[in-house]
Amino acid sequence: MIQFSAVAKRYRGGHEALRGVTVEIGAGEMVAVTGKSGAGKSTFLKLAAGIERASGGSVVVQGQNLGALGETALAVLRRRIGFVFQDHKLLFDRNAFENVALPLRVSGFARDEIGRRVRAALDKVSLLPREKAMPVAMSGGEQQRLCIARAIVNRPAILIADEPTGNLDADYARSIVDLFGSFHQVGVTVLLSTHDEASLALLGCRRLTLAAGTLAEPAAAPSA
């Protein structure tokens, strides 16, 4: 489903975030990317989501070599990948419903279908009663769940989350981890980054450890 072959990423200014990363993530698999801050976790996820382009090597997602895709094709591919951003990237002048509806509007869904899917996604993250609430009136945990609802509303085959439990307390972090576990249970490929050992233990999935932009030997999934 996701294949990295000798992938390198160098940003403008010369900072090398990743180098020589080769890894394969199968369909329906759940993988946690770990490592210290600045290890290249976010870059890895963005490359997998088609948000960034690799400077070297190749990234193949669902059989498509992202390096060979034009801007429009890459944008269309992003519609099939749900991404939960570390900083949420919510629109603060739109209510919860409108935030979650955004990917569907971009994809050109009909109004009825948008209503159905948005409410289903909000229900999945237990935010349906808050559909008219503005993000500014929501707690950090609610904003995180809203971001997850937006990521799953297009029913993606791949769900990617960058530090989804980063700023949450233990109880909230557990509920978010459970949520990702439930998506994995229904066959969604889940790829998330975290440096929270408690969350990793709860996830009980394969780990990819990044250090200074390179991939350490993949660890086996710990027993839950």
């Binding site: 403008r12 801007e71 519609r79 971009v106 994809s107 050109g108």
Partner: protein, 303 residues
């Protein structure tokens, strides 16, 4: 196809929502654009009005030769022959005093006054189409014709109308230039307004792109915004110009004497109004395209 239509519907709704969210700002922007568009439209109305006067004027080079009031039919025949024999005369047309009176009655509001006169005050006349507009040759011809017995006056009164015609032609060219400059200004104003919106909505654009919006998806609502602004500004400009033209027309009617029926304000046609509104919408669209494309280049490809 249905998806494409829905995307356009969403973009249109988005553009209308943006306009409605800042009604005062949107109204002010549209008014500024309308004033810019109204200027060349007003100039066009002024030119059309002047043109309507000049088309009824005689602008071919000609000289009117008026005979004395006591000129007999024999005098008329003799003067006519002398005029036709002159090398500068291309053609000669006789207008009898009775014919001149009838024409004056039919083209002015003086019929009643003329009917009350005991005798026809107008002389016989000849209209001579001349071969030249060169002043020296014209002066020689006028001098020769003035010397013919029973010729009272020789007047070459086409020169001012020719000059007016030339001014109208110049005015048309100047109008095209002004329309071009103000059209560019409208496009830049819309572009600038859209650019400000793009910058202020940078975060939303970024999020849209992250969730799969293509450059066309991002551009679409802004293009509708520019199109709607241009359309409304064009309509407002036509309405504004029509209001001014109506007012000026009423004032002119009150100020000009009754016999000056040719002095009137001629508003642009319905098709012309449509062209103004359409052109304004197109300029708004172009301005928006320029602004969004410029800003999008700065966003992509890295988020």
């Amino acid at each position: 196809m249905r998806t494409w239509l829905r995307q356009h519907r969403h973009a249109l709704a988005d553009a209308l929502r943006r306009l409605a969210s800042q009604p005062l700002g949107a109204a002010f922007s549209i008014l500024v654009l309308a004033v810019a568009i109204a200027l060349p439209v007003l100039a066009a109305v002024a030119l059309r009005s002047v043109s309507s006067v000049t088309t009824s004027l005689e602008t071919d080079p000609h000289v009117n030769v008026y005979l004395a009031l006591d000129a007999s039919d024999e005098d008329v025949r003799r003067v006519g022959e002398a005029l036709r024999a002159h090398p500068e005369a291309a053609s000669v047309k006789f207008v009898s005093r009775s014919q001149a009176l009838e024409e004056l009655k039919s083209t002015t509001h003086l019929a009643e006054l003329l009917a009350s006169l005991e005798r026809n005050p107008l002389p016989h006349a000849f209209t001579v189409r001349v071969r030249t507009t060169e002043s020296a040759r014209l002066a020689q011809a006028k001098e020769a014709w003035s010397a013919i017995p029973k010729v009272d006056q020789v007047i070459a009164d086409f020169e001012w109308s020719q000059r007016l015609g030339r001014w109208v032609t110049f005015g048309r060219k100047a109008l095209a230039l002004v329309a071009l400059v103000l059209g560019a200004a409208v496009s830049f104003i819309v572009g600038h307004l859209i650019r400000l919106q793009v910058v202020s909505q940078r975060q939303e654009i970024e999020v849209r792109q992250l969730v799969g919006a293509t450059a066309a998806d991002v551009r679409r609502p802004f293009l509708y915004h520019g199109l709607i602004q241009g359309l409304l500004a064009g309509a407002a400009a036509v309405f504004l110009t029509w209001g001014i033209a109506t007012w000026v027309s009423a004032e002119l009617r009150a100020l000009t004497p009754e016999y000056a029926t040719e002095v009137k304000v001629v508003f642009i046609s319905l098709a012309g109004s449509g062209v103004v509104v359409g052109a304004a919408a197109l300029l708004g669209l172009l301005g928006a395209w320029w602004a969004v494309s410029r800003e999008l280049r700065q966003f992509s490809p890295s988020f």
